[in-house]
Symmetry: C2
């Protein structure tokens, strides 16, 4: 077995990769197997490798400790051994994001992580130019998570060809598609000829490029591994083909510390898949991802049972027209896991009700979710001549909401403890988050009130007679934070009688 590539060092939570030469005849994707075992005094990790085309096989590993490692590669075509050393991570590498304190998140190194996500389903499958533009936009934004697909997308505003396909083969002639007839092509449309046993490594290499670029920006890649917006048949493969796909995805992407697994977008629209199938994919992840990346499954109508042990957090699409973030309290109680609102409608003006809320309403939903201890997500769907919509294609943002998320992020980062929980003494006409520690117990020294669409001209507060609090009034829409002094006992805070106000109250000696 000839080793083509094997560095001498890697950084902790970085990628150590070995590339070897192997057979290219027959179907290497199905006929060959390769895996690696990586050992240090602190861990032994077994991880599958994958065929990357042109007779090259790769095995990737993400070390979780510094110091000396040895490795052993085993395959159907030979073996190899070696060693390397792992250095301290670079300052911006905090490791994998994990759940923390039941309802929240933190990086492996303990740094808290408050997800504020966006969705650009196939930004990764656009032109180089648009991808660069999207990365630039993300860099300037407050987003620290992005949801996107491995498979290309077929849907209204998404009728063109992707930059590449995940499999060898040829697609149908998409020039026959119109806004009126595209629904007739959903699923496995005539004229598509793909070999679901032969991957196109270039497609996956490109996605790795995108994941890496996100890593540089400190953004988590919430990878949507399956989805129903399909005309090429990728949503209707057999169990065996799906398994081959999942194993390939897991072997290629697991070593990237910023990857999350989203089993599907709108899993319940994949009509050929059963609960048994989803459980099987969940099993595959637990089997072939040795790092236990965050794992979720996103609904259209009914929630998947987020209590399942392989699901790390709720990935929620709202189920109602008039309430979304307001239900965070309920979902926390029901699933007892972090609540990530990956779809609470998008800011925009397209014809669909899920894609035409105002910037004000989007920001309101963000604060409603955050103050209740949930983690809101964004998307944008503004009509334009070129039909380049952030929600699918990335590019630039046109909306009013994104610039307001910086303030929310700053305020969230001031939270003591693990993150916010809905305060049980909240009055009916306000929302209030209080910090909770890792034991799901409230930290009684900090209150973040939010008044949503209500417009009080003042509010009265009382916590106890002794504690001195410093108070700030936050205009979440106009992005103004005003010092409202220090107070004790019963006190009144004057407010401007406008919508979207928050009041932050914290112990002066906090």
């Amino acid at each position: 077995m000839r080793i083509i590539k094997s560095e001498q060092t890697a950084e902790k939570w970085g990628i150590f990769e070995i590339a070897v030469e192997g057979p290219s005849g027959g179907n290497p994707f199905t006929e060959q197997e390769i895996s690696g075992t990586f050992c240090s005094p602190f861990e032994t990790v077994h991880t599958p490798g994958f065929y990357d085309g042109n007779g090259v096989y790769r095995v990737r590993f993400m070390p979780s400790f510094t110091g000396k490692y040895t490795y052993k590669i085993e395959s159907t075509f030979g073996e190899a051994e070696g060693e390397f050393s792992v250095t301290e991570p670079s300052p911006e590498n905090h490791g994998i994001v994990r759940t923390s304190g039941t309802f929240h998140f933190a990086y492996e190194d303990g740094t808290r992580y408050f997800p504020l996500g966006t969705t650009c389903y196939v930004w990764d499958l656009q032109s180089d130019e648009r991808i660069a533009q999207t990365l630039q936009t993300l860099k300037e934004s407050a987003f620290n998570k992005i949801r996107f697909c491995v498979f290309p997308k077929h849907y209204d505003y998404n009728l063109g060809e992707p930059r590449s396909y995940p499999y060898e083969g040829t697609p149908m002639d998409s020039s026959v598609l119109t806004k009126e007839n595209f629904v007739q092509y959903v699923g496995r449309a005539e004229g598509n000829h793909f070999d679901y046993t032969r991957f196109n490594p270039e497609h996956f290499r490109h996605i790795e490029y995108c994941i890496t670029e996100l890593q540089k920006l400190g953004i988590e890649a919430d990878l949507i591994v399956m989805h129903p917006y399909d005309r090429w048949g990728f949503s209707c493969m057999t169990r065996e083909q799906d398994t081959l796909y999942w194993k390939y995805v897991l072997a290629r992407f697991s070593a990237f510390h910023n990857v999350w697994w989203s089993l599907a977008n709108e899993y319940d629209l994949l009509t050929e898949k059963t609960t048994e199938d989803w459980e099987w994919y969940g099993h595959l992840i637990r089997h072939y991802d040795p790092y236990r990346h965050l794992t979720s499954i996103h609904n259209c109508h009914a929630f998947y049972d987020h209590r399942r042990p392989w699901i790390t957090h709720c990935s929620i699409q709202r189920q109602e027209t008039y309430r979304s973030s307001e239900l965070v309290n309920e979902w926390r109680e029901r699933f007892f896991k972090p609540v990530v609102l990956d779809e609470i409608a998008y800011e925009g003006n397209i014809q669909y009700g899920w894609g035409n809320i105002s910037g004000e309403e989007m920001v309101r939903r963000f604060w409603e979710a955050a103050v209740r201890g949930g983690y809101p997500g964004h998307g944008e769907t503004y009509m334009n001549e070129n039909e380049v919509l952030w929600w699918s294609h990335g590019g630039v943002l046109h909306g009013e909401s994104p610039k307001r998320f910086h303030l929310l992020k700053d305020i969230l980062e001031e939270t003591p403890g693990c993150g916010l929980a809905p305060w049980e003494n909240t009055r009916w006409d306000e929302v209030c988050g209080v910090p909770e520690n890792e034991f799901h117990k409230p930290v009684k020294s900090y209150y973040l009130f939010y008044y949503s669409f209500m417009r009080p001209s003042f509010r009265d507060y009382y916590f106890d007679d002794e504690t001195e609090f410093s108070v700030r009034v936050i205009d979440t829409w106009n992005m103004e934070v005003t010092d409202a002094g220090t107070h004790k006992g019963r006190f009144r805070i004057e407010l401007p009688g406008r919508q979207y106000m928050a009041v932050q109250i914290r112990k002066t000696d906090l």
Copy 2:
């Protein structure tokens, strides 16, 4: 028995009143009884009279037919007989409002009545000047119903003395009341000395003046007979005292065609009253009001059981912070009676969440309710130096919502049939009302769509291949109605991508 007053004629649905002299010694309110029986070939009505002070007793009657009537007055102090004739009603007098076609309303003469109400709890107990101002404001408004109280009101922003009290006696010194301590005085506070068996007729005469002035404006008087915002003990009287009060109210006000009975505001805050009490008041109304005026009971937390036979329609205070009008469909199904939303929060900026929504949100709730076949109500609570808030005191309106109700009223009046019902084929991201006839069957020729906070840039419609529809786009906030042409089969309507848009679609030959 000496008759002081008895006209020769009355108009149909007007008031025929007889005044007689009687004893003024002892307690005429409890010791004397008087009633009248009014006969025409078409009806015989027995109705109680009342003592109006200064030795004068009155019996009032509202005739429902034209032509000759005879009457007989019976009392504990003598009898009298006479006759009079009833003329056609004046053009603006359409009679009592009744329920119509399960979920709607119409006047006795068949004219449809679409309630658009407001609430000014004690506008009637303010100065002459302010009352005149309120009447002028109402005249210029789209409101055709107003909720107000017989008893004075004790509450935040309502700590002063009313212009008069319903009983003989002396109130406590109200100068001790402050915004901070007023809650300690709720109920029967020390220092109030009223005789709950001796009415102050002037108080009631003045309310009759207010009812009459409303009549001239074509506005229904939704009289709140009991309420919990009290320091004088009127909310904590005995069963016997309550009965005396109800009989007096019914004897005085029943003959006014524009009166509705609201048993209470927030009945469930009258903690001393039981369901048995409320059922008793309902029984008294059915016994002493021969005209069967509309009767309802308004909640704070839990709804009263609006299915009770003496309740003609649901008088609803929303039970949730985030949904109000959106639940009309549910309430229609649950109670199978007209749904009047008497409290969906007020436009304003006071400290309470029920009194600080925006004009936009108020207008949105109005349209949401109306398109679902419910009838929304308004209130206004803007802070001001003099603490004159429309919600309690009347005066002038400061809000942005009231001027927008004229358009809603105009559009509602274009509805064929009895009124609107939620269309069962409505898509999830729209609301659509279709007219229903008196048999609760849809009239398939008219659709009123509403897009609420959503901002579609266009919407596609399809009803059938044959029918030609004329379409109008309604900007409910900017009060602009735009002709969008005639259409058949599948068609698309362009919209401005703004919030609060409605689309009216009707058969061209309707």
